[in-house]
């Protein structure tokens, strides 16, 4: 689509919005449901219709978050968890990209590596926990390794299949222009696999966030997962929910960072999704 037609469509959209009293900016539509429910629940608790002890109302949640933030405790937990996810994501995706690239580019490495990795993948990753604790102790190493294992598989699989599905037709373009092996990789393979690699990294990151919780359940004295367990033991659902909200925000935020970093390199893509948002078909 050309820039001008996109602009004129935007103009039409905003003209429609001005003409209709019910039109809400697109980004805000998604807020209606959660905000509406929150306000309704808050109201119900205040009116005394529900007790709100096991499910604290939004005002209590906000107060808890504020208290945690003021005490400085919150930043410690966030920092610890972020560091764990960051390290696990780094090592896991590095290994996933390297081994995935090997498997994708060379038949021999694929025949050598893939069956073993596929077999390991069949083990639910959380099941590694006891072994990792025996091997690496209960401190940081075992946590980071577990997260890295979780990140590794989607990245490995995504990169391998991205390389294997590069169109033979554009590889032939490289051959006609007599590109050497390195130039073939740099000028054709890398750009061609970039979109699926970003997708693979995003699912890896998602799993990283999942696994950091498991890792912090297995004995931690700080971190958002610790906050969850601590809240359970103290019988404080508000603290648990505060941790959940932070998990959600951080997960979304780190994913958005990944997307933002990769976007300039993926502008050329001709897909139905524009600006990360799928269009209505």
């Amino acid at each position: 689509m050309s820039v001008t037609s996109a602009k004129s469509e935007a103009r039409i959209a905003s003209a429609e919005a001005a003409g209709s009293a019910f039109r809400v900016p697109a980004g805000l539509i998604g807020l209606i449901l959660p905000l509406g429910l929150a306000v309704a629940y808050e109201f119900a608790v205040r009116a005394g219709w529900v007790e709100g002890r096991l499910l604290p109302p939004p005002s209590r949640l906000i107060a808890t978050l504020a208290a945690l933030a003021n005490g400085g405790e919150l930043w410690l937990h966030i920092g610890t968890t972020m560091a764990r996810v960051g390290a696990g994501f780094f090592f896991g995706s590095l290994a996933g990209i390297v081994l995935g690239a090997l498997s994708g580019v060379s038949l021999l490495s694929r025949q050598l590596l893939d069956p073993t990795l596929q077999a390991l993948r069949a083990i639910p990753s959380i099941a590694w926990v006891p072994l990792f604790i025996l091997w690496f102790g209960i401190f940081e190493t075992s946590k980071v390794v577990l997260i890295a294992v979780g990140v590794f598989f989607p990245v490995y699989l995504g990169v391998t299949s991205a390389i294997l599905s590069v169109d033979r037709k554009i590889i032939e373009v490289g051959r006609v222009f007599r590109l050497g092996r390195l130039a073939q990789i740099r000028r054709i393979l890398l750009p061609a696999v970039l979109p699926s690699t970003v997708t693979a990294l995003r699912s890896g990151l998602g799993l990283g966030w999942m696994f950091v919780v498991a890792a912090e359940f297995m004995g931690a004295s700080e971190g958002l997962g610790y906050l969850l367990i601590d809240g359970q033991q103290l019988g404080r659902p508000d603290q648990i929910m505060a941790a959940l909200v932070i998990f959600a925000s951080l997960g979304k935020f780190t994913d958005a960072v990944l997307v933002a970093i990769s976007r300039p390199f993926l502008r050329w893509q001709d897909t139905a999704a524009i600006g990360g948002q799928p269009q209505e078909l």
């Binding site: 373009v173 051959r175 222009f177 007599r178 750009p191 061609a192 970039l194």
Partner: protein, 261 residues
Amino acid sequence: MLSIRALSKTYANGINALAGLNIDIQQGEIVAVVGGSGCGKSTLLRLIAGLDLPSEGQIRVDGEAVTAPHPAIGLVFQEPRLLPWLTVGKNIAFGIDQLPPDEQRRRVAQALVLIGLEGYEKRLPKELSGGQSQRVAIARALVAKPKVLLLDEPFSALDPVTRQELHGQMIALWKAYRPTLVMVTHDADEAVALADRVIVMAPKPGRIADEILIVSGRPRDHLDDSFGMARRRVLSALDLTMKPGESRLNDKIAAGAGSWW
């Protein structure tokens, strides 16, 4: 300058795509290869381009044997095959990145003018129409200044009007760069409009059924008598190749239409 001797290709699955082809092509000549589908036209071009190896026989360009993609030989595929992440300008320059940047820019600018896409240099392939993409693909092959440019049904996916337009541009490009052109097509009109010589191929196994010389100058008038005659000869030669069991194909055509030899 391009010589093809006893060229045969049998694929791994046993299909005999080409059997004993001999072709000699002069510098700057435009040769059209026509034939029904499956008679080995694409196979022939892929062998000349060095993308596949022949089972038997030899291809030489200026005396040099072709066993791998050769700098003197360019190929335009049936689809544009542009790299979607490169702009039009960078796609055109794809094969000449070893040249100094100034020279690259000069050649790209010149090619953009010739294909009528000035001002499109910074566009991405997704913003182009099919005809525009194919023109960029042709420019990409031409800026490397190959002595021989092979085109595999380059216009077959386009509508007749666009195709007509591209014929004109093709001749303009040929005049600017003077490559030897070997163009596969399934359109007799296209062959007669562009070529100095039309090679008609027959299938199973792929072989040359007839060659027709077109002597008239360019541009050619489609309504002209000699155009119509040449076109009819190509069509009747094609017709014969479609009929099974024509063992003495060449003789019949030679007797009927007074072939060029």
